[in-house]
């Protein structure tokens, strides 16, 4: 991985909520074109990590650099202009608003150049998730869970980001829907989009990712290529163990 290809670099990032420290010095890099997974148990600090990257929670120490420049105290409304988009945990759709209004708002803060290409972005989102075009006039809150997740991803894509952050896109969805969403991620990835994916479902995430980070109580405890992590004994017992015990095969 060349230094020039690094899109996102976290160096010793500490962050939390008020006095409650959650992240204790996270180092993490994402190179251009990569799909990087962050896995870890519930409460490990994965969501906080993504929020710290986009500025929804403050970074108390360490730096977050995007395209080589520290984002400092940048707020999320500024970062989206520079090509960073987050699909937040729980989707956070604009429920009473229609699917097409949600998508239109996705392009709200894109830089001026990208805004000119909003129609193309919408066409790409519709090609990726055709159901969103069918449901265009429907309030977002009336969609099924899977459709809502597709809308959340679609809304983020409307800003035509260079780096897409996703927080547990599989949560609460049926296997068939999860497969559809991850197929879309693979497609986006093939199109050159860089992705940082947070997942509790370690096996699912690592199967799609190039590299992975394992988090535990606010620290990165393991990192490496996905294949290595999948084969790693400690990862297998701790994060993949229950999975194998259930014998589930998604």
């Amino acid at each position: 991985m060349t230094e020039a290809g690094v899109l996102l670099e976290l160096d010793g990032v500490h962050a939390g909520y008020g006095r409650a420290a959650v992240l204790h010095g996270i180092d993490l890099t994402v190179a251009e074109g990569e799909l990087v997974a962050v896995i870890g148990a519930n409460g490990a600090g994965k969501s906080t990590l993504l929020k710290a990257i986009v500025g929804l929670v403050g970074v108390s120490a360490g730096t977050v650099a995007y395209r080589g420049a520290p984002v400092g105290a940048a707020r999320p409304e500024r970062l989206v202009r520079d090509g960073l988009a987050l699909v937040p945990e729980g989707r956070l759709l604009f429920g009473p608003m229609t699917v097409s209004e949600n998508l239109a708002l996705g392009a709200y803060g894109a830089g001026r150049k990208r805004k000119a290409a909003t129609a193309e972005a919408l066409a790409r989102v519709h090609a990726l998730f055709p159901v969103l075009e069918e449901r265009a006039a429907q309030p977002a809150e009336t969609l099924s869970g899977g459709e809502q997740q597709m809308l959340a991803v679609g809304r983020a894509l409307m800003s035509q980001p260079s780096l897409l952050l996703l927080d547990e896109p599989s949560l609460g969805l049926a296997p068939r829907v999860i497969a559809e969403i991850f197929a879309a991620l693979d497609e986006l990835r093939a199109g050159g989009l860089t992705i940082l994916l947070v997942e509790q479902d370690a096996r699912l995430a690592l199967r799609h990712a190039d590299r992975g980070y394992v988090m535990r109580t606010g620290r990165v405890v393991l990192e490496g290529p996905s294949a290595d992590l999948l084969a790693d004994e400690s990862v297998q017992t701790i994060y993949l163990g229950t999975w194998q015990a259930e014998g589930d095969d998604r």
Binding site: L92, F94, P96, L105, Y108, A156
Partner: protein, 290 residues
């Protein structure tokens, strides 16, 4: 029958004013989750500034526009200076700040414009018009027209403009709005400006009938708040419904029971709604839907 019609006209006239003020409460509530108790003062400022600008020699339409714009600017500055510094946007603190702010605005108006009731010319001169045997003052028609215009303009803003969609998005899901690039703080400022402008329209429209005075804000604040609560604080349509209904209830009470009770109606409505149906008549989900 003629008597009833007359009461209905009076009720819908005052109700339109309450509706505009209630809209202001609803807009700020949607943006902050707080009640802006300075909303009545924006109503007061609309009338006072209208008189002021007319006194400078501006033709009435220009004085009206100037008064609305100036009140909107005061609303924005009020938010920037008093509301924005509140850490975490705690609604309870916002409420307290707006109560303090209302006193401040009233005192400033008293010092700048004096304690007198100040007249404003009707927007069109002439005798009352006859409607099915009842008399309708020309200014009442202006009140209805301006209320209708304000409601339509607001609906278009929310439904048809990117800016309005961003305002709605912020009130529905603030973090997600920020994530798509909406400056959520600016939306709060805009909501105060918008609420102030609506209050000013009401204050201007009614001033030729009641005269403008520095002290009318508090009373109108109570009426508008009662109307907003009656509607359920949930949507602009509910605010307008609450305003019109309160105006009719007042007018019918004054006409058929005793004019002395007119001003008590708003308080009774407020208490009954808060005890019996806190979500208001038109509020279902308990969630703001703009």
């Amino acid at each position: 029958m003629d008597e009833l019609l007359q009461f209905l006209i009076a009720g819908l006239k005052n109700g339109s004013i309450y509706a505009l003020v209630a809209l202001g409460f609803t807009i700020v509530f949607a943006a902050t989750g707080a009640i802006n108790f300075a909303q009545g003062e924006f109503f007061m400022l609309g009338g006072m500034l209208g008189v002021f600008f007319a006194g400078l020699g501006l033709p009435l339409p220009m004085a009206a526009v100037a008064a609305i714009a100036a009140t909107a600017a005061i609303g924005a500055v009020f938010e920037l200076l008093a509301v924005r510094p509140i850490k975490g946007g705690d609604p309870l603190r916002i409420i307290m700040v707006t109560i303090g702010g209302s006193v401040l605005l009233r005192q400033m108006a008293l010092h700048l414009f004096g304690p007198d009731e100040l007249p404003l010319d009707p927007f069109t001169e002439g005798p009352s018009l006859k409607l099915l045997g009842a008399a309708v003052e020309r200014q009442t028609l202006w009140i209805w027209a301006l209320t209708g215009l304000a409601v339509v303009a607001l609906a278009l803003l929310y439904r048809r403009t990117t800016f309005g969609r961003a305002m709605r998005a912020t009130s529905i899901q603030r973090d997600a709005a920020r994530l798509v690039g909406v400056n959520a703080r600016a939306m709060v400022t805009a909501s105060f400006a918008l609420a102030a402008a609506l209050g000013a329209v009401a204050g201007l429209a009614v001033a030729p009938l009641t005269q403008a005075s520095f002290h009318v804000g508090a009373g109108m604040g109570v009426k508008g708040f009662a109307a907003a609560i009656l509607g359920g604080l949930g949507s602009p349509v509910a605010a307008v419904g609450g305003g019109l209904l309160l105006g009719l209830l007042e007018s019918l009470t004054a006409g058929y029971i005793d004019p002395l009770y007119k001003d008590a109606v708003a308080l009774v409505v407020l208490l009954v709604v808060l005890f019996v149906r806190p979500q208001g008549l038109f509020g279902g989900s308990g969630r703001v839907k703009m």
